[in-house]
Symmetry: C2
Subunit: 340 residues, 2 copies
DNA sequence: TTGTACGCGTTATCAT
DNA sequence: ATGATAACGCGTACAA
């Protein structure tokens, strides 16, 4: 691999002069500058970022950790982060924890080992607290995305989960539903908790009883075990006429389970969920959803992160951006007769 | 940041001894080993990968470059690559070129600058040839994924695009269609070329004329310009009864365009495309597709790459894995009366 | 079993 | 305008 010394030798200058050309620092005559540049081209020179990072004691490298690369919410978020990073001259690497605390820990090693400048962190859950404390100990700036973690103070971009859940439930209620179940992510995830709270609040606000058995904490990730959902569904008495799913993955799973049980959506059971299904939901706009501004999560989060990195003030107050939600009614919710 | 020297001092040994503990090399008494490990824990020590890479002159870092992070084909592929890399003890970073040759070039700088061990490369198109030649010049091993590039010899994992296209067209024909249009990616992308060829071959095999105007090269990426598709559609005479789309993104776009024109799918125009819509296509299985084994692209490609990295034999013959396709008939293709 | 000297590729500092 | 030197954190080769 060609080094700065190869360039220096071939251009009859010292390595230092080459370095100055690379970084546009100091002053060099236009003539030698041009000569050095030519040699660099010739030798296909690319500065070694490892050596650079070593001596500079800093990198312009950001890391984005998401929990599910198959979820359009996170891929769209990633695009936002990518764009913001690029605008500010930072590089972005991605990692995918798969909602799994151990995988998250592995990425933590990468993050720490490579001395990245900052992390966009969507935690797998409350257990991520130790990982985040580790980041704090190492003074690695981070921004929490989509989920918060008790005990951790930080910059964050968070959606209005509680409000979104309320909207879904009230949408059901407006359509005549009284028996509304909730299949949700793990209670160890802040957004799942808030969605559960919103679900309960909407019931209370509308003088509807909350039935404990109507709530299933299933997990946000893709799972193949439909039978768990079906067992739950069949155990419910009376059978709910509507189900709210804590996210898009669950929305799809629950629809599959309903259909596998020989029932129809929405004729027998209505369904609505959090987060849209991505660019492809348009072709058969079926599932009623609460959408979030996924791109903004990434874009704004990256801006917060970079600002914190650049004014390295330990006491800079944490900032929190709240992003609104929007209900998109489609076809998976049926209107029940007022006689019900 | 704590270094190996901090550990050494606190444990009353030399830095070298610490290094040996970290890498499990040489021999050290169990006592000092335990002591050193304890100190490392205490100080939250994480080895600096930059320093390590510098002296070792190698990293166990792989890079996956995909062309569209919003496309489920590539996210599924990514999961495969991730799993394979992990099994072999490599780390994987991702980059997203967005079908854009310039963004691809930016990631090339990252790849080169960070001296990654190898690259899983899904090229934006034939123009990527210069980027691949650069990798070759720098002796960075790579595996081509999904697309090949004229003039580049390398390991590769490629799908049977030609066969897939044939299947789609024949599926149309079996359903009574005679006027079949093709909206495709850029002809500068190998898979698009092959799909076009398959489209033509299927016509010839079935004694159907190929009408030049029925072919639109639109681009694989997400574009918002539906009007181009609509203009094209309206210009066709006779109006095709079926349209094959070169990938899933185009499949969705063309359906939107058809509907925006006031026509219905499949009653007025049938549609089928390459690549499935991801985990969510199940809830309303509408679009007829040819699916590919996306996960295997990533998984097998990573295996090829790691094998090449590990037996660093310049003359190792290139290997090419061909992955089959499968037609999944759904509801977006109508059966035409035999009277037609 | 443990430690010393050196080099990996780069840049900051200071001198020329 | 240009260059010599040291330092970043770590591992190899060799010596003790």
């Amino acid at each position: 691999m060609t080094t700065i010394y190869d360039i220096a030798k071939k251009a009859n200058v010292s390595a230092m002069t080459v370095s100055k050309v690379i970084n546009n620092t100091g002053s060099i005559s236009l003539k030698t500058k041009a000569r050095i540049k030519r040699v660099m081209e010739e030798l296909n020179y690319v500065p070694n970022q490892m050596a650079r990072g070593l001596v500079l004691q800093q990198t312009r490298q950001l890391f984005l950790l998401i929990t599910d690369i198959n979820n359009p919410f996170y891929t769209t978020l990633s695009r936002g982060a990518e764009d913001a990073a690029k605008e500010k001259g930072y590089r972005l690497s991605f990692g995918n924890s798969d909602e799994n605390i151990e995988k998250e820990g592995e990425y933590l090693e990468i993050i720490l080992g490579n001395r990245v400048a900052g992390v966009l962190f969507s935690p797998a859950g409350d257990q991520s607290v130790s990982h985040l404390e580790t980041l704090q100990r190492h003074k690695v700036p981070f921004v929490l995305l989509d989920r918060e973690v008790p005990g951790i103070e930080s910059d964050a971009v968070i959606g209005d989960s509680r409000e979104g859940a309320r909207r879904i439930v009230e949408h059901f209620i407006e359509n005549g539903h009284r028996h509304i179940a909730l299949i949700n992510g793990s209670p160890g995830i802040s957004s799942a908790r808030l969605r559960h709270q919103g679900y309960i609040e909407a019931h209370k606000l509308n003088d509807l009883p909350v039935q404990e058995s109507y709530h299933l904490a299933f997990g946000y990730g893709s799972q193949t075990d439909l039978s768990g959902i079906m067992t739950w569904l069949n155990s419910l008495n009376p059978r709910p006429t509507a189900i709210m799913a804590g996210n898009n993955v669950l929305g799809v799973e629950v629809i599959r389970a309903i259909r596998d049980s020989g029932l129809r959506v929405p004729e027998d059971i209505s369904v609505a969920c959090f987060d849209d299904l991505g660019p492809f939901s348009q072709i058969s706009p079926f599932l009623t959803v609460v959408t979030q501004q996924a791109y903004e999560f990434g874009y704004l989060g990256t801006q917060l992160l970079i600002e914190r990195i650049e004014k390295k003030d330990e006491n800079r107050p944490f900032r929190r951006i709240n992003l609104p939600v929007e209900l998109v009614p489609r076809k998976s919710v049926a209107r029940l007769g007022t006689s019900t």
